[in-house]
């Protein structure tokens, strides 16, 4: 070593920039999400012999039974969502307004079903429906009951987390300015919890459209929803048709997310923009 040009031994740096921290997930995403998605797209646009064709789409939108399955799925999803909202909102509101430490325990009780094994829970519910004599008679009703039972916590949690953060003095302010209970709800609580309502809808509507395990269990196997249709195509080794259904479903989901404001830039719209 000579004087004047002392070189520092380069230190090995273990510092990451923020982008690099996402690298493991990016690899995972590419392997298990993007690649399969491309495969689905490929199969959707090809015929059985591998040639490019739109025949699968023509089949999906002309086959009356497929349309019926799709409509039935949307109906189940929509009804489940509405029932969950009607049941879940009051619960989330009351829970968020409990002052004491018991709040946490109560919340846990309401979301407990999520912690019980899915299969066990489904079987128990089935037995219960059988016991009260609904099983086998009202397949649609039973499926909705089952869906609500399973997805209610997914409605309560986002609503609760929005409501708990809401400044309680806003309700007092509205009452102070002359609003009755209905008005306070309609013009203060509801609009301010809209983001919770929308994320609750997304969390319940989409899965309940496709969760065919539930419709199979409670609907006595008689009720077909889109998830079941895909399953059936796979059973017949018809990957192309299954891919088309999956792709149509994906588009519906994107549309629903778009509609519920999932892509809007300002999540928290406040007043009029300038």
């Amino acid at each position: 070593m000579t004087h004047g040009c002392e070189e520092k031994t380069p230190k090995i740096s273990f510092r990451f920039n923020r982008g690099q921290l996402c690298l493991p997930y990016a690899v995972f995403l590419a392997l298990f999400v993007i690649f399969p998605l491309l495969v689905i797209v490929y199969y959707a646009f090809t015929a059985k012999d591998g040639t490019i064709s739109f025949a699968n789409f023509v089949w999906f939108f002309t086959d009356m039974s497929m349309i019926q399955v799709l409509l039935q799925s949307i109906a189940i999803g929509a009804i489940t969502t509405v029932v969950c909202l009607l049941l879940g909102y009051p619960v989330a509101y009351v829970l968020s307004r409990i002052k004491s430490h018991r709040r946490g325990i109560l919340l846990l009780l309401f979301v407990m079903p999520m912690c019980i094994n899915f299969v066990l829970r489904a079987m128990a519910m089935k037995e219960l429906l059988d016991m009260i004599g609904l099983l086998g008679k009202y397949n649609f009703l039973n499926t909705v009951i089952g869906m609500v039972y399973d997805f209610l916590p997914f409605m309560i949690l986002p609503l609760y987390s929005v409501l708990i953060k809401m400044d309680k003095s806003l309700e007092e302010a509205a009452a102070d300015l002359g609003a009755g209970r209905a008005k306070i709800f309609g013009s203060v609580i509801m609009p301010l919890s809209l983001s919770g309502i929308l994320s609750g809808i997304t969390m319940v509507f989409l899965p309940s459209m496709t969760c065919y395990v539930i419709s199979d269990t409670y609907g006595n196997g008689k009720l077909r929803i889109v998830g079941k249709a895909i399953d059936k195509c796979f059973g017949q080794n018809d990957i192309n048709s299954a891919s088309v259904i999956a792709l149509v479903l994906l588009v519906i989901m994107l549309l629903v997310t778009l509609f519920t404001g999932g892509f809007s830039k300002n999540d928290n719209t406040r007043g009029v923009e300038l």
Partner: protein, 504 residues
């Protein structure tokens, strides 16, 4: 203060609010507010001032007592049915509405009695909504008043703290309430802005003639703005009066300490309008029982500095701080310190004399001369009181008695008494209590809830958790509020007496 009954717009009668956890936030408050008055509830946090305001607004229901509005009991009415509007501590503006819609919120809900032409004869009255143009006109007017014209379309989240404050005031005032409640409305603003808003609020009050009830912990704010100040502590009103009254004639040491700077001394009333404190007899204007122990309050600006020889008392200046318009100096007389404000500075170390005019010496009856408790004797011949257990001399209960080996008390007549569970009255002097950081060492454990400096010592109150028993005592040591301490009382300082007069 006796005025025509018609003048009272709101009256609180024995108003009490007890929370679910047993805490009594407001304890039997009696008060009335005259129409058009600017009343301030003043006190430290937790004194019940906000709870009182919330009960007037209707957000909290009183546990007992009445709230009369123009003579009518409104304590059961929900907030939306009361002609009262509130400016909230942190504004509580609706974040999803713009400035205009925030202010118009109340107006859109309002129904006014309007005459309708009916077929020829008498007009028919109906409750009618305000029209859009009426609302716009009112909002425009109030925006002008709070100096926010042109802000109608702005989102409230883009406004500064001061602007949000103005919107909150406009939103309440636009409804033309009979009473405007303000819950520490300026607390979140910086000093300069706060001073400006104080004057603006005062001006609005003068112009509108609406009754203002204002809550604050800032004594200066209360003195600046109010017609009447209600000083509260622990849910109880300490004093009601004009700012001048409260400042010049504080009723007790708490009020004196809370309102402005003050020197508080322990003194003795000597009779003939003379009071002795800081080692000297002073002329005064108040009259008390001869030899009664009293608290003496002297405002720093009321102490006159003289030559060392011509003053009534002399002492040494030990520090001096320049405060802008005056110097704040501390003078030491023996062990006692006295704070003096004067525009002329004296050198630190200089010996000077002081004089105090008789009418600047405020004398107040002592709140506590001793601590009194109800207690009982345990099996071990200790005494339980004030949420604690203390060693004591049980023999003082019966003259000439003594304890035998088994712990029974033998009276002078030779009678054998089992003292277990005997109810007793306990008295402990203010100078007989000590506290220690080692909580287990004390007979009782509590938190320091109050510290008042009394010239040469502090008067502390230690409060226990369970039954909120207070130990009041004097100490020369420095402690901090909220310190958790053990209470020690020497065995021979606990005075016991029997509850029912038995033979001695």
């Amino acid at each position: 203060m006796e005025k025509n009954k018609q003048d009272k717009i709101i009256e609180l009668i024995d108003l009490t609010r007890k929370f679910e956890d047993g805490l009594i936030a407001v304890d039997g408050v009696n008060l009335y507010v005259r129409k058009g008055e600017f009343v301030t509830f003043l006190g430290p946090s937790g004194c019940g001032k906000t709870t009182t305001l919330r009960m007037i607004a209707g957000f909290d229901k009183p546990t007992s007592g009445k709230i009369l509005l123009n003579g009518q009991d409104i304590s059961a009415l929900p907030p939306n049915k009361r002609p009262i509007n509130t400016v909230f501590q942190r504004y509580a503006l609706f974040p999803h509405l713009n400035v205009y819609d925030n202010i118009a919120f109340g107006l859109k809900l309002k129904r006014v009695r309007t005459a309708f032409e009916s077929k020829g004869c008498k007009p028919v009255y109906k409750m009618k909504k305000l029209s859009k143009s009426e609302i716009a006109e009112k909002v425009g007017k109030v925006l002008k008043m709070v100096d926010l014209e042109g802000f109608e379309k702005r989102s409230v989240s883009t406004l500064s703290g001061g602007q949000q404050q103005r919107v909150a005031i406009a939103r309440a005032l636009v409804n033309e309430p009979e009473i405007l409640l303000l819950d520490e409305p300026l607390g979140a603003l910086d000093l300069k802005m706060r001073k400006d808003m104080q004057l603006e609020l005062k001006e609005m009050h003068r112009k509108l003639g609406i009754t203002f009830i204002y809550v604050t912990h800032d004594q200066e704010e209360a003195l600046t703005m109010s017609d009447t100040i209600v000083v509260m502590k622990d849910g109880v009103i300490q004093q009601i009066g004009t700012p001048t009254d409260i400042y010049n004639e504080p009723k007790n040491a708490f009020v004196a300490d809370f309102i402005g700077e003050s020197n508080i001394f322990s003194g003795t009333y000597l009779g003939d309008k003379k009071v002795r404190f800081i080692g000297q007899a002073f002329d005064c204007v108040d009259e008390f029982e001869k030899n009664e122990k009293v608290d003496v309050v002297v405002r720093p600006e009321d102490v006159e500095i003289t030559d060392a020889e011509s003053g009534l008392v002399k002492g040494k200046i030990i520090n001096s701080i320049f405060k802008g318009i005056h110097y704040e100096m501390t003078m030491k007389i023996g062990k006692t310190e006295i704070v003096i404000q004067d525009t002329v500075e004296k050198e630190v170390g200089e010996t000077v004399g002081i004089r105090i005019k008789p009418d600047n010496i405020h004398i107040m009856a002592k709140e506590f001369s001793s601590n009194k408790y109800d207690g009982y004797i345990t099996k071990k011949n200790t005494v339980c009181f004030g949420d604690g257990e203390f060693e004591c001399d049980v023999c003082q209960l019966y003259d000439g008695s003594h304890l035998d080996d088994e712990g029974y008390l033998i009276t002078a007549d030779g009678e054998k008494i089992d003292l277990t569970d005997l109810d007793v009255k306990v008295e402990v002097g203010l100078k007989d209590i000590e506290i220690t950081d080692d909580q287990e060492q004390g007979g009782a454990i509590g938190n320091i809830v109050s510290i008042i400096y009394k010239g040469d010592h502090y008067q502390l109150i230690v409060r226990t958790d369970e039954n909120e028993e207070d130990f009041v005592f004097d100490t020369e040591d420095t402690w901090n509020v909220n310190d958790r301490v053990g209470v020690i009382i020497p065995k021979n300082k606990i005075k016991l007496s029997l509850v029912t007069e038995q033979k001695k």
